[in-house]
Amino acid sequence: MAKPEKVLVYRHAAVTRLTHWINVLALTLLLMSGLNIFGAHPALYWGQKATFAHPWISIGAVQLPSGDMKGVTQIGSTSFDTTGVLGYSGKVGAREPVAFPAWATVPSQRDLADARHWHFFFAWLFVLNGLVYWLAGLVGGHIAKDLVPTRHDVAPRNVWREIVTHAKLKFPKGEEARHYNVLQKGAYLAVVLILLPLMVLTGLCMSPGFDAGAPWLVDVFGGRQSARTIHFLTAFTIVGFILLHLFMVVASGTWNNIRSMITGRYAIIPDKAPEPKGEAA
């Protein structure tokens, strides 16, 4: 049997590719410097103020009667031994009490002042990059054309079918592969419409200067400490998205996906004899 002929379609516009990779850089450094910043006070609260004796989650180190240290992560009334990763980590014999391990933070040493420099620098890059993405996406039609689900997309039957085929790691081929499916559209929209803006807004609410100008926004999140908590939870939701995203990239064809995000060209195998139509994005 002859090998089916691959067709390269133009999938990602230059601005999408560029903003994607800038976002990779910015989000990575924001996350890693954020984990360093968190180490300055590794506990989270709800409301306007801290309730120091009762954080809803905290990471710390405790000394055992033997003199050894143990990393402890507390969530609500439950505590977990997280030695080696959270609370107390580093090479065995040279472990240090630090919330997140050195390999996960920028700078690698606990350093609030420098971590803030990294965080705010890449926060600006992230915001400006996001604005470029949004502007280009709205003006160029990427968001309306490629991301907003169609009526067909959101039909329960279609949604269910996509869930089942995704769970089986079967990915669309041919004409269908020219477009994002409804789960992709939903996930990408949720990220660019909800999660990423939420990071910026909750970040701003931690600023006492900004709060004087927009106290109502702090109220929307339920107070400065709630905003800090939501900042942290949203960050980890984004990490979860990225892990799933990377898994899907690998599962649906690593090099084809990576190439499409670099050159824009994505290979599909047409169902039948392909009739050359307009390019899908």
Binding site: H41, A50, F121, P208, F210
Partner: protein, 258 residues
């Protein structure tokens, strides 16, 4: 797709060493004066952007008495051991004098009774530490603006420097003495006060007795404690290590609005 165990091992090792390289590069940028300066350039952008979107006269949120933190956390110095401070504390601050000098027409030396006789303000505000936590407290103190009017600032004055009674870090050159500085717009903000009471009681030692600054809308390290002297200056670069405050000298932002 499947990866052989061998290939997976190589992949993991490759990713781990790539990660280690990136981390080492980040640390090199942090420790390189030029690299760090690039990172810090964002501060100017942040300050200008906040000045643009937030009116400089905007008031910080004020809270209700029920919101006051029962566990307001003291930070930095909590019981200074500097000889002069210890001597003042021993007499219940009866000998305390706040000196106001520098670029003023009329230098002042004020006792606590003098300060309590000045136009006062009480406010329940949220204290936001750069570490990430917040506590809410009630502050009563002399408004800084009217006090400056009494001292009559010279037209060359641009900043106020708060010299504090606590040494937060032992250094050979004395740069471990706590100090802070603010500009005149913040100095004349109605919520900027020299607090002598906290939660309806005399300011306790851990929170800066007998006098601390409240310059709301900025982070906790701006709220200088144990204030001994207020100096009006045209520049702060000759003080400490030149960045305008104890924590500023150690890499934190002079504009502590975020």
């Amino acid at each position: 797709m499947t990866l052989s165990a061998n290939r997976r091992g190589w992949l993991q090792a490759g990713l781990a060493s790539a990660g280690a390289l990136v981390l080492a590069a980040c640390d090199r940028i942090t420790n390189n004066p030029k690299g760090n300066a690039v990172l810090q350039s964002a501060e100017g952008l942040t300050r200008r952007a906040q000045r643009l979107v937030v009116d400089r006269k905007a008031l910080a949120r004020e809270f209700r008495p029920g919101d006051i933190s029962p566990d307001f956390k003291p930070n930095g110095s909590v019981d200074p051991t500097d000889a002069d401070y210890v001597a003042l504390k021993a007499k219940g601050f009866a000998d305390y004098r706040l000196v106001v000098d520098g670029l003023v027409e009329r230098p002042l030396s004020l006792s606590l009774a003098d300060l309590r006789a000045l136009p006062a303000r009480t406010q329940i505000t949220r204290h936001d530490c750069v570490e990430g936590w917040s506590s809410i407290g009630k502050w009563t103190g002399a408004r800084l603006g009217p006090l400056l009017d009494q001292a009559r600032l010279k037209s060359s004055a641009r900043y106020l420097v708060f010299h504090c009674g606590d040494t937060l870090e032992e250094t050979l050159d004395g740069s471990g003495q706590y100090y802070e500085s603010i500009d005149l717009i913040d100095a004349y903000h109605p919520q900027t006060i020299l607090a002598y009471d906290m939660n309806d009681r005399a300011l306790p030692v851990p929170h800066g007795a007998p006098l601390r600054l409240r310059v709301e809308r900025q982070l906790g390290y701006k709220q200088a404690k144990y204030i001994m002297r207020i100096e009006a200056v045209d520049d702060y670069r000759h003080l400490g290590r030149g960045k305008g405050g104890f924590w500023e000298d150690r890499g934190y932002e002079w504009y502590a609005g975020i």
